[in-house]
């Protein structure tokens, strides 16, 4: 995929309504009317979002059928997800190290608290 195409994909994914539309389409194709239903939005507003998704190559519409159902195009989404996933894995490795550090610090704190109490009791 070209960098421009990837930019378009990320831009399309930036909006919560568009992400919701994609997750709806992940469970099967749907018409504009069906897609508009769960949102408090007019059909033209939904159509605008669909245009952005279509330009990014994330969805396509069947031209022949009257209701022109939209369907999810998996490839560009997978590409964008791959970048996000790589970034996520990099940070997750750091945060797992942080998990271990936080645990160590808490164990040390409990231990030193217990030592102090024991000293007082003596």
């Amino acid at each position: 995929m070209t960098p421009d195409r990837l930019d378009a994909t990320f831009a399309a994914l930036a909006d919560p309504t568009r992400r919701a539309i994609l997750s709806r389409l992940a469970s099967g194709e749907a018409s504009v009317m069906e897609l508009a239903e769960p949102f408090a939005m007019s059909q033209p507003a939904i159509s605008k979002h669909l245009k952005v998704l279509e330009r990014a190559g994330l969805i396509s519409s069947a031209r022949e059928a009257q209701r022109r159902p939209r369907k999810l195009e998996a490839a560009p989404l997978a590409e964008a997800t791959k970048w996000l996933e790589r970034y996520r894995r990099f940070w997750e490795a750091r945060f797992q190290r942080l998990d271990a550090l936080l645990e160590e610090l808490q164990v040390r704190k409990t231990k030193s608290g217990r030592d102090k109490r024991q000293r007082r009791e003596r």
């Binding site: 490795a93 750091r94 797992q96 190290r97 942080l98 645990e103």
Partner: protein, 165 residues
């Protein structure tokens, strides 16, 4: 090791990357691990084999921080720094970020929120870039760019050594 929760990465707007992660610790402690140099250098590393020989933090508004990472196997280094813009311990931290050898254009503004619930802490870190291109650049290359570059260099050295023999 307790892995409290999976890391979520999203792109809420064109210029942002947002990370959300839950930690099994009270927020005052989590805040310390983000702001005290002796703790930061224990976890804010690259992949295995990278250390953080420089980790300086002047924790006050207008104060600077500076990080240097080093690949101990081949000596390559990467450095970043910035200025603290807001500090509300242990709830909120805002700082700028810029790399010495920048792999994204301009400066980033990083906002970190610490929310405690039932002794556990959710950290939400939002990185705001100067442009969509810069944001996408961060996602596409990440810090791994530097890492990959050093591996490539190593591979090239190995290849040229193999060629000679």
């Amino acid at each position: 090791m307790t892995n409290a929760g999976a890391l979520m990465v999203t792109t809420p707007t064109d210029r942002e990357i947002e990370m959300t992660r839950l930690f099994n610790a009270p927020r005052s402690l989590v805040f310390d691990t983000f702001t005290r140099p002796e703790l930061v250098r224990r976890w804010l590393l690259g992949p295995d084999g990278w250390s953080m020989p420089v980790c300086e933090i002047d924790l006050r508004v207008g104060g600077k921080y500076r990080y240097v990472w080093r690949n101990d196997s081949n000596g390559s280094e990467m450095a970043a720094g910035g200025v603290f813009r807001e500090i509300v311990a242990p709830e909120r931290l805002v700082h700028s970020e810029q790399f010495d050898d920048p792999w994204y254009p301009g400066e980033a503004l990083v906002t970190t929120l610490f929310v405690e619930q039932g002794g556990r802490t959710t950290v939400k870190q939002t990185m705001l870039l100067e442009s969509r291109e810069a944001r996408d650049g961060v996602l596409k290359s990440g810090m791994e760019t530097g890492v990959e570059r050093s591996y490539q260099r190593l591979e090239e050295q190995l290849a040229s050594m193999a060629g000679r023999s």
